[in-house]
Amino acid sequence: MKLRPLFPALAALAFASLSTAQEPAATTAAEAILVDEWEGIVNIDASVLLPDYREPWNSGQPSGGSGTGFLIGKNRFLTNAHVVSNATKLVIRTTNDPEPHPARVVFVAHDCDLAILEAVDGSHFEKMKPLTFGGIPKLNTEVIAVGYPIGGDRISVTRGVVSRIDFRPFSHTQVDSHLAIQVDAAINPGNSGGPVIQNGKVVGVAFQGFSGRVAQNVGYIIPVPVIERFLKDVEDGTYDHYVDLAASDFPIENSAQRKALGLNGGGIGVMIADVEPAGSAGDILKRGDVLLSMDDNPVLNNGLIRFEGELMDMNEVVERKFAGDKLKLAYLRDGKKTETEITLKRFDPYVKLGEQYNQRPRYLVYAGLVFQPMDKNLIDAHQIADPAANYMFDNYLTEKLYVERPEPVLLTSILADEVNTYITPYAQSVVDEINGVKIRSLKDVKSALAMKGKRPDFVVIKLLEKDRPLVLKRDLAEAAHPKIMQTYNIPEDAYLGAE
């Protein structure tokens, strides 16, 4: 068995397991009562296909994993997105029934690591009682985690207390942060997607933890507000993703800062250090503004807000909202207070910086030159070492490089042939222009290659921060192309995405 590689210190809790046999149920009467209550807590076995970003035309590497899910409504099981990501086949099992039930994904939300499954034939689960949700549990109150973790095949229960309630990065995508609850109940690989229960009500979904080498008894659960948001989002039949303010704040602790920004103490207001032009507040907020409140709820100097009785990151206000929702902002600019309302929307560019799932890798091959769009999966798979490419990835957001290149394209590899043998050292570069056309997305590569510029006999590819253009004679390249495709066993020239 192996843990899926995730955020360095954090390991998500689905684990690959070779176990196929399920022990027949043999429970005593006392346990039976308990177990009946938990009949809706199921084991999910996933067969997955890990996409191959190095040979993107291949189907990928078969693998598998196992996690937990639980019944929340009529033939609806809640689990973690990472339990069912890249799955080709899903099977649900209950603790008292040896029968495997094929299942499928109904909704998946990678940004908050939640998913809803249904059994292909839901009749078996019709009589079962769905679990119900509670609220945010108080610190130092007892919870139990129920699921199918490593160490056996039957259902397992562990117990602990609520240790902390905080905004945390979610390791599934590595770029999303939401409210999370830390518990000291043992949460192990396989617990993923399982319910964490207090007084018979679900208060969270177990989803990640630190490995024992880093910290002890630190497990995290996705709390009810995040779950409820997900359930509400999918009510209309699609998942719309979180919305973002897409502005970064810098705490006001310095007296000079306070004076310069026109604040007179009182602890209210945080400095807006940066605003993403493509984000929800792109046209409204500016660098150096002081954000005073969100929906009339005052923002403190350190960017926290009092929300539902707790001090939380101010983004929690935005977190609970949906695409198209309004947000009331009050801010100070040049000493003048302004109140306004913005419409919240998704902010896409950052998604590329996170791990992606359920995506067939996109690519285009031309005369042995392999073009792929930049994203985290690609950078990791190719272990890109080119400084321009690394800079592009590292500063895609911070230096707003996404404005000029929404989807940077990399020349990831060059499949050697007589036609390209002199340019093979240029693999792993960022593509700047092809035949005079600026490359802003993978689709541009296709049209630009077909473009006949000033020198129609040549295909001229300019790379970022490289010393010479790559030049192919069009007739030679086109003659070599089918041969290269055959030699390197590439069934299709390109996959540019669904549509």
Binding site: N254, Q257, Y422, V471, K473
Partner: protein, 511 residues
């Protein structure tokens, strides 16, 4: 087991006098007679050179690192001058010369050093004792006649000045990087086994009793010695001799090979046409001033035809990088003539050779003997970006601010176009009253302070003289983009920084 026994024996011996003589079962064997096949001779052209050095701290720029020592050999030249490698004297605080046989010492000083060519010339620094010290020494001549296939000898001295001679055979002559970044010249590559003696720097290599080169590095695994060759030494000495050291000239071009037939077709090059593709021309450098443009095909320099790899045929060494024609064979101020092809036409371009000084670079390529420039105000530490600063991070920090700063060093054009002469950045924040809330910042490029455009560290000092309404406003190129400081508190903190815990002697080094 052996070293263990040896150690025991030693311990026993050292305590012989204190204890009764029961311990030493192992009689002290006489030291083995030298078994080298070479005869033991003395030379009067070598000196021991002892250097104490102390480098500046790159990240805490007002401090110096601990002092260290280097021992090497110097070659005695005409006029009581001593030749050593540049590395030997880098950041030197005290240099002395020592006669190998008698152990007599006198202090010395550097009279010329070129860290790119890795050469330094020393002179004694004791007029009274100079004559007697040098009385028994004979200067060595420089010999540039080495060819591929020649056998040279590496010279080392033993404990009492006996000469240890090791033969090596020259197998290649080529262009190679020396010690500091972007400095490459020709080297001799020679094969042979060199035993390591106490002196680790500046081993002279001789041919027929004359100086053929200095050992630049030795790869003991492959037994390959890389030698800093006589032609480069001769160039250095000639340059020094006229009283004004100009350094090695450069054209200021980057070129790409043109072996790729499709690329040649695209460039309009005929099948047998010589030349390389000029991929970059440094603004203001020799080639730029002579009119060379990016995209030109450089066909010849000073009459030497350039092949598709960028080599010319050297009468002595065969194919050699064309850069040797400029760097190794010509001097600053010499005329240079280049033939280029531009849009199908051949042009002859003429100009004078110059040298880009290290301080002319946006990011200083190397720095020795002087401390890094900095300015500390209220706790904000500003520095000019240098290669040594970036290199001090090694592989420990490949992402984030260091990656971003390294990229600026790699492609400076964008910042040079903006009129920046140097990259000034916020390198650290010391915790003071005026920097409250800013303590974790580092690595942001500074664009403007109090409305003054920052193009070099000196601008920072000027800009901080002009606070507005008692506030300093610092604009950065990265998050959080803007910092405010209370001008009065800054002054109070500055006093604290100088006299308090940090004991910072000076709040800036701008020279």
């Amino acid at each position: 087991m052996k070293p263990f026994f040896f150690l025991l024996a030693l311990l026993a011996l050292s305590s012989v006098q204190a204890q009764t003589p029961a311990a030493p079962k192992f009689p002290l064997r006489p030291a083995p007679a030298p078994t080298q096949s070479q005869p033991v001779i003395q030379t009067s052209a070598l000196l021991k050179v002892n250097v104490t050095y102390q480098s500046h701290s790159l990240r805490i720029p007002w401090q110096k690192e601990g002092a260290g020592g280097r021992r090497g050999l110097g070659v005695v030249l005409e006029g009581n001058r001593i030749l050593v490698t540049g590395q030997m004297v880098a950041d030197a605080t005290y240099i002395e010369l020592e006669l190998p046989e008698s152990g007599q010492k006198i202090p010395a000083k550097v009279i010329a050093v070129d860290y790119e060519a890795n050469l330094a010339l020393l002179a004694p620094n004791s007029p009274a004792r100079e004559a007697t010290f040098f009385a028994g020494l004979r200067p060595m001549q420089v010999d540039t006649s080495t060819r591929i296939g020649d056998t040279l000898v590496v010279w080392q001295t033993g404990r009492v000045g006996e000469l240890i001679v090791t033969p090596v055979r020259v197998s290649k002559v080529m262009n190679q990087g020396y010690v500091v970044e972007n400095a490459s010249f020709i080297v001799y590559e020679a094969q042979g086994i060199i035993r390591s003696e106490a002196n680790s720097f500046t081993l002279p290599v001789a041919k027929g009793g004359k100086l053929a080169g200095l050992l630049l590095r030795y790869d003991s695994k492959n037994q390959i010695a890389t030698l800093l060759p006589a032609p480069i030494i001769e160039h250095f000495l000639k340059d020094v001799a006229d009283g004004k050291y100009d350094g090695f000239p450069s054209l200021g071009i980057e070129f790409q090979i043109t072996l790729d037939e499709q690329f040649r077709d695209y460039l309009g090059m005929k099948p047998d046409q010589p030349g390389v593709f000029i991929s970059n021309v440094t603004k203001g450098a020799s080639a730029d001033q002579a009119g060379v443009k990016k995209g030109d095909i450089m066909m010849s320099i000073n009459g030497a035809s350039i092949d598709s790899r960028g080599d010319y045929q050297d009468p002595h060494f065969g194919a050699l990088s064309v850069s040797h024609i400029v760097r190794g064979k010509a001097y600053v101020g010499d005329e240079v003539e280049m033939k280029v092809m531009r849009e199908g036409k051949e042009l002859t371009l003429k100009g004078k050779l110059t040298r880009k000084q290290p301080e002319d670079y946006l990011v200083l390529p190397y720095q020795f003997d002087q401390g890094p420039k900095y300015l500390l105000n209220g706790g904000l530490l500003f520095q000019e970006l240098t290669r040594p600063y970036l290199n001090s991070f090694g592989n420990e920090q490949q992402g984030g601010p260091i990656l971003r700063l390294a990229r600026i060093a790699g492609s400076p054009d964008e910042y040079e176009k903006k009129g920046k002469k140097k990259i000034v950045f916020l390198s650290a924040v010391l915790p003071t009253t005026s920097t409250q809330g800013y303590e974790r910042l580092s690595g942001q490029v500074v664009d403007e302070i109090n409305g003054v455009n920052i193009t070099k560290i000196e601008d920072v000092a000027e800009a901080f003289k002009k606070p507005q309404d008692g506030l300093h406003v610092v604009k950065l190129d990265q998050f959080p983009f803007i910092l405010h400081l209370d001008a009065l508190k800054v002054e109070q903190d500055n006093l604290q920084l100088m006299n308090g815990m940090f004991r910072i002697g000076s709040l800036s080094r701008l020279e």
